[in-house]
């Protein structure tokens, strides 16, 4: 079981209170009419499946019902950071490599 920190409730809660909601930071194309089918298909259906650092959304479904972002290592399942919606991650694949870890 993961022990996840909810940035809105301000404390760690059991994993059973949360639901994973897939990759974070997906931006809807600004001008859908002039977006190619390929770009639109990428936006709708294609997701990253990295080995290592992954930025993903979780929702505190049984709790405050807010969405937030999690940076998780897909190999160890370790949650490296949790940040609110609209914020940017500080732990990324690039920063992890620089630090000589992983």
């Amino acid at each position: 079981m993961l022990h996840i920190y909810c940035p809105y409730c301000g404390e760690h809660r059991e994993e059973s209170e949360f639901r994973p909601k897939g990759q974070a930071h997906i931006i809807r194309p600004k001008d859908p009419v002039n977006t190619s089918d390929e770009e639109w298909g990428d936006y709708l259906f294609f997701r990253e499946n990295p080995r290592g650092i992954h930025h993903e959304m979780w929702v505190h479904a049984v709790g405050c019902r807010k969405f937030f972002n999690v940076t998780r290592d897909t190999v160890s399942y370790e949650i490296l950071e949790v940040y609110k919606m609209g914020e940017q991650p500080t732990v990324t694949a690039a920063t992890q490599q620089k630090g000589g870890q992983k």
Partner: protein
């Protein structure tokens, strides 16, 4: 004064009301009950949504309910009488519990006191409040929820939403020895049966 059409959704006392537990069988009272389970039916529950960054909104709540809007996560505050309470549910949502029948009065007063963007919805019929007390109340909670209800993590004046049995419940602690559970009407029967079963080993006294 906001320009929102509001109607009194409460049926009034001439319509017979049934609590979500009107049908349950109450077990015989144990000689020396370790757990006292009680329902407080027909209270006025209201969901409040709004922007707590707006001082006028907070002031309006204070004026209408006589208690400050709790801005800290998981905070639960009662007024001096102990009858009215506001609980933090999420950064923009609160649960107000008032004596039954007062909902419309509170709603009207709030719309008069504040004209900004907010919502207050009566959900009294959708949920019910159970209280759990007695020396073994905490043991029953330990068996029922994944949340850490140890007093060091759950002081008086805290209220959270979490898993309760296989359902969802709001668990709150209004005073030192009393725990309150707010469960959905549709889960009330299940939660009640769970609680009676979980309390059996300590001896239970039930009032619904």
């Amino acid at each position: 004064m906001s320009k929102v059409a509001i109607i009194d959704q409460c049926a009034g006392s001439d319509v017979r009301a049934e609590s979500p537990m009107h049908h349950v069988k109450v077990p015989s009272v144990a000689a020396n009950p370790g757990v006292v389970l009680e329902q407080k039916p027909f209270l006025g529950h209201m969901t409040l949504r709004g922007n707590s960054a707006d001082d006028a909104f907070c002031a309006a709540i204070q004026q209408v309910l006589g208690v400050a809007l709790p801005l800290q996560p998981s905070a639960l505050v009662h007024d001096a009488s102990g009858e009215n309470s506001i609980q933090w549910i999420s950064p923009d949502e609160w649960l107000i519990v008032v004596p039954g029948g007062r909902e419309f009065e509170v709603e009207t007063a709030l719309h008069q006191a504040y004209s900004g963007h907010f919502a207050i919805v009566t959900v009294s019929g959708g949920q019910t409040l159970l209280t759990l007390s007695g020396p073994n109340a905490l043991d029953v909670l330990h068996k029922s929820t994944v949340y850490d209800v140890h007093p060091r993590n759950f002081p008086v004046g805290k209220g959270i939403t979490s898993n309760f049995a296989k359902a969802t419940a709001i668990i709150r602690r209004p005073s030192e020895d009393v725990w309150e559970l707010i469960v959905r009407r549709s889960f009330a029967d299940y939660c009640y049966r769970w609680l009676v079963d979980a309390s059996r080993e300590y001896g239970v006294s039930v009032k619904v």
